[in-house]
Structure formats: structure tokens, C-alpha cells
Amino acid sequence: MFSWKESGRIIFLLFVSSLIVVPLLATILGGFKSNGELRVSPFGLPQEWDLQFYGEILGDAQFWRYLWNSFLISIMTVVLTLVLGSMCAYAFAQVRFFGSRFLFNYLLLGLMFPFAAAIMPLFLTVRDLGILDTPWGVVLPQVGFGLAFSIMFFRTFFAQMPEELFDAARVDGCGYIQFFWRFTLPLSTPILATIATFVFVQSWNNYLLPLIMLNDREGYTWTLGAMDYRGEYAAEWNRTLAFVSATLAPAVVFFLAAQKYIVAGLTGGAVKG
């Protein structure tokens, strides 16, 4: 079935898509071109596929160290945020204790302000704790800033669980802590996956915190590494493009696979089909 309206729609959408895809393709292809060719044809296919630059980057131990550091920091952030966040939210969801409303609102304050505002005292705190130049210097602030939104999502999710389940388990002598590990967490995989993905993406892409907390090149995340690489090879865009492509490719594949959970995170924690 052909209609002008439908084909107009598709053409418009293809046009918008090209604005996104062309720069990305040019980046990936640029890594295969010589710098001279890159100047003449930035967007076309390479005349000769030169594997030298990708090869050099993938064969560089430092490159893999960058990726490993980013990965380590992201995983540590995810695990800590999930553990601390779900435990705290469980307490809020299950029990109304003295000061619980106050504490919950206190945590929600974290959603209201731009975190960069506190960056100078935060740097001094991390310095005084002696964790500058360690993964913890990036991980712990990231966990702190991620807790507010994850506790909010967790609590909403936990509060929707049927109360009968808890009552039944309690009759059988199951305590609060046991119930959390045996029932609440296993039943919460959608929300755990949502928050894990969201926190992972933010940590993986983070630049400001690593920039401030990490000075030793050994401990650099890939975002710092990419900026470093750009500075080192300022005259050779093909190298930087290869570097960016090599870091972007695995991340994009992973993120597209986890897209469902990222979107769920944006829209308030509801995971559909």
C-alpha cells in the first residue's frame, strides 16, 4: 500500500537518521583512512583499508588498561549501588520506623541539585580519605549520587509486592533479613536490571569525576584515555577516530542490547515485555 503521506514520513525519518548515522560511520571508516585521504574525503569509503591504526590501538596494553579500569569502576559502582540501595529501600518499604519519612526525604534531596556544584569539597573529601587515584575515589561518589534515584525506584517496586507473601513467610518464622534475600531480591530482577544498566552506562561514560579524582595514567578510565590520545596525536585525526570507534563499538552493542532497561529507567522503572 503506497501513500504519499507514509513515504514522506519515511523520507523525513531517513533524513534525521542520516544526521546520526553519517558522523558515526565517518568515525569508524576514518580509522581506516590515511590522514591525507581523511582531509580529502572525510565521509566516503576508504580507498584502501589501512588496518595499521586499529591494529596499533588494539595491540596497545595501555588501551586495554583504560577499558579495564572503566569496567572495574562501573562494576564496583553497580554492585554497591544495588546492594546499598536495595537494602535501604527495603527498610523504607517494609517498616515505618522513627524518622523514616525524614530519612527518605533527605535522600530525595539528592535528586534536586546539580552534583558538579560540590565538586571542590568532594575532591578534598576524597583526598583526605586517601582514596585519590584509586577506583574508590570515583566509585564512592558515583554510588552516593546514584543512591537517591535507585532507592526511589526500589522502594516503589518493593511496595508493590503483595503483603500476603510477607505475612505467610513470617508465620513460618522467616525474619525480615531472610525474607529480603530469599524473596524480595529474587522477585526484583526487572528493577535490579534496570538500575544496574542505568548506573553502568552513567559510570562508563563519566568524565568529570575521573578527571578530578584520577591523576595517574595507570588508573585512567577510557574517557580520560581518549582525551589523552587526542592530545598526543592532535595532528592525526584518523588515530583518534580509530580510538573512539574501538571504545564505542563494544559499548554501543551492549547498550543497544540493554536498551529496554535503559528506557525503563527513563520512564519510571516500569519494564514492559
Binding site: I20, F113, A116, A118, G144, T223, A226, M227, L266
Partner: protein, 319 residues
């Protein structure tokens, strides 16, 4: 419910007894403090400290600006009152950074959100081709800001990318370097911001559009409503809660733009493309002006919190 204790306890259990039952107290003591402690140390205390450090001139050496340094016989920092605030508010680079940040928010609200809404209306239906478009439009959002910034410094590099292509096409003698020219550097950043974040807002709108009942739209169609009329009279009004959320994210996100600025211009040329955060980083952190950086931070905090409070109590009231 009968338990062994029933013959002893005649009164209903006290609050304390209820807390002890089933290890409730134990759970609270183990589960609540870790999150509160991490949040307090790494989020709340630094923000509070920024307020205390703001009236000092201090390089960050020593435990606090008001602590006494035995070696020099003076305090580590110097109390200078509101001077830090006077200094940045009179600094032309700060004024530009503030204007730029306002510009980011304005462009997000006036250009980005309508684009996101239009695209969401075009592809919210779950067909295969729409799903592909959704993935493509969402791609920029999940890419790191640093990677995006590097890609666009290539695209906008006068010797290589798009701007060379355009200047060649127009037969210009000299290559045009938008990232090195004064008004264009920040306009480029604005364009990249729209490029990067419209997919995020589009996804929020798509989720909202999909929850609008089909019957209502079908009824409107039967009554002869056109696509545009349905959008204007049914979908957009019903989408208002989602729109208020995306406005909130636009403003709070706009206040914090930093990662994109560093790879693209690092604030240049001649400090014309700073945002509030990149200004703070450059003039506070890099120069180790802890008091000054804290004062800028307090300003940023105040803008964000005042906006959030006003917004929550007016626009988002009752949602």
C-alpha cells in the same frame, strides 16, 4: 494468630516489641545506615562544605580554611567574606558562562523538545521500521559525551570534516573552523547537545504516547479528526505529565553541561564557550581556588534547587 506468648501478653505489643519481632530492629540497623552514610559523606557533606568554604581564600592545603597552621602561625585560609561572589559575578568569563548555560536550557526547551515530540508522534506505533528508527535516534544518548565531543570536533574541523566540505562547496578560499570562531564555537556545542539528547526526550514521549488509550484516538478518527488535530487536541494534552518531566531533566541537565565542552572547545576561544560547570572546573579546580570554586558551586546549587522547588510546587503540583 496464636503464639506461645499469648497467655502472657494481654496488652497489644508495644512499638518496641514490634520492632524486636522477626528481627526488624536488626534489619533496620544493618540495612539503613550504609546508604545514609555513603550519601552523607559523598553528597550532602560536600555540598554543605561548599557553603562553609565559599567565604574563604584557600588553596585546599590543610584540613580546613579556618584551621590553625602551626608552621606559619596563621590559619590555612583567609576569610574574605563575599569577595569570591563579587569576583565571579564581575568576571566576564562567568557572565558568558552563565549566558551560555541559559542558552543551553533555552535551546533544549524551544528546539530540542519540539523535535523530540514531533519524532515521537511519528514513530510511537510499534512497527518494525519504527523500532529501527527508535534505536537509531536513541543511539546518541547512550554514547559517552567525550566520544560525541571528539567525533564532532572532527566533523567541525575546518581541515577535515563537514565544515571543509561546506566551505569547498561554497568556493571559500580559506577553511572555516567553527570551533575556533567566537559565536560559532558555542553554537556548535548547542547543536551537538540537541543531536545528543533529543532521543532521550523522544523515548520519554513515546512511553507516554503508548499509554494513551487507542479507543479515544479511534473515536476521534471516526469523528473525522485529522492526524494533526488528534495530536494537538488529544495526544499532547494527555502527554503533559511526560512533558513536565522532560522539561525538568532539560533544565537540570542543562545546568550541568561539561563533558561535551571539554573535547570540543575546552571553553575557548578566549573563554567564550564555557558553561557554569566548565567555568567552575577551569577557574576553581584547575587553579585550586577552593573558596572560589565553592562559591561558584553554591551559586549553581542555588539555581538548581530554587528551580526544582519552584517547579515541583507549581508545574508538577498534584502529579
Amino acid at each position: 494468630m496464636t503464639t506461645a506468648d499469648d497467655h502472657i501478653t494481654i496488652r497489644p505489643p508495644s512499638a518496641w516489641q514490634r520492632m524486636m519481632a522477626n528481627g526488624q530492629l536488626r534489619m533496620l540497623v544493618i540495612f539503613v545506615p550504609p546508604a545514609i552514610v555513603v550519601f552523607t559523606i559523598f553528597v550532602m557533606l560536600p555540598m554543605l562544605q561548599a557553603g562553609f568554604f565559599a567565604p574563604y581564600k584557600w588553596s585546599g592545603y590543610g584540613p580546613a580554611p579556618w584551621a590553625f597552621n602551626e608552621d606559619t602561625g596563621r590559619d590555612f585560609g583567609t576569610w574574605i567574606g563575599a569577595q569570591n561572589f563579587d569576583r565571579f559575578s564581575g568576571h566576564s568569563a562567568f557572565q558568558t558562562a552563565f549566558k551560555n548555560t541559559i542558552l543551553v536550557i533555552a535551546v533544549s526547551l524551544i528546539i530540542q523538545l519540539p523535535i523530540a515530540l514531533l519524532l515521537a508522534l511519528m514513530i510511537y506505533n510499534n512497527s518494525r521500521i519504527n523500532t529501527v528508527f527508535r534505536l537509531i535516534f536513541f543511539l546518541p544518548y547512550i554514547m559517552a559525551e567525550v566520544a560525541t565531543g571528539l567525533i564532532f570536533s572532527f566533523v567541525l574541523d575546518g581541515n577535515y570534516g563537514l565544515s571543509k566540505w561546506i566551505s569547498d562547496l561554497m568556493g571559500m578560499e580559506e577553511a572555516f573552523f567553527p570551533l575556533a570562531e567566537k559565536p560559532w564555537a558555542f553554537y556548535s556545542i548547542l547543536a551537538v547537545i540537541v543531536w545528543k539528547y533529543f532521543g532521550f526526550h523522544m523515548m520519554i514521549y513515546i512511553a507516554g504516547l503508548q499509554s494513551i488509550s487507542r479507543e479515544m484516538l479511534e473515536a476521534a478518527s471516526i469523528d473525522g479528526a485529522k492526524t494533526v488535530q488528534k495530536a494537538v487536541y488529544i495526544q499532547i494534552p494527555l502527554l503533559w505529565p511526560a512533558i513536565t518531566i522532560s522539561i525538568f531533566y532539560s533544565v537540570l541537565g542543562g545546568l550541568q553541561v561539561f563533558d561535551l565542552v571539554m573535547p570540543m572547545t575546552a571553553g575557548g576561544p578566549s573563554n567564550s564557550s564555557h558553561t557554569l560547570v566548565s567555568y567552575l572546573y577551569n577557574f576553581g579546580f584547575i587553579r585550586l581556588n577552593v573558596g572560589f570554586g565553592s562559591a561558584v558551586g553554591v551559586f549553581l546549587f542555588a539555581v538548581g534547587v530554587i528551580f526544582a522547588l519552584v517547579y515541583r510546587n507549581t508545574v508538577q503540583r498534584g502529579q
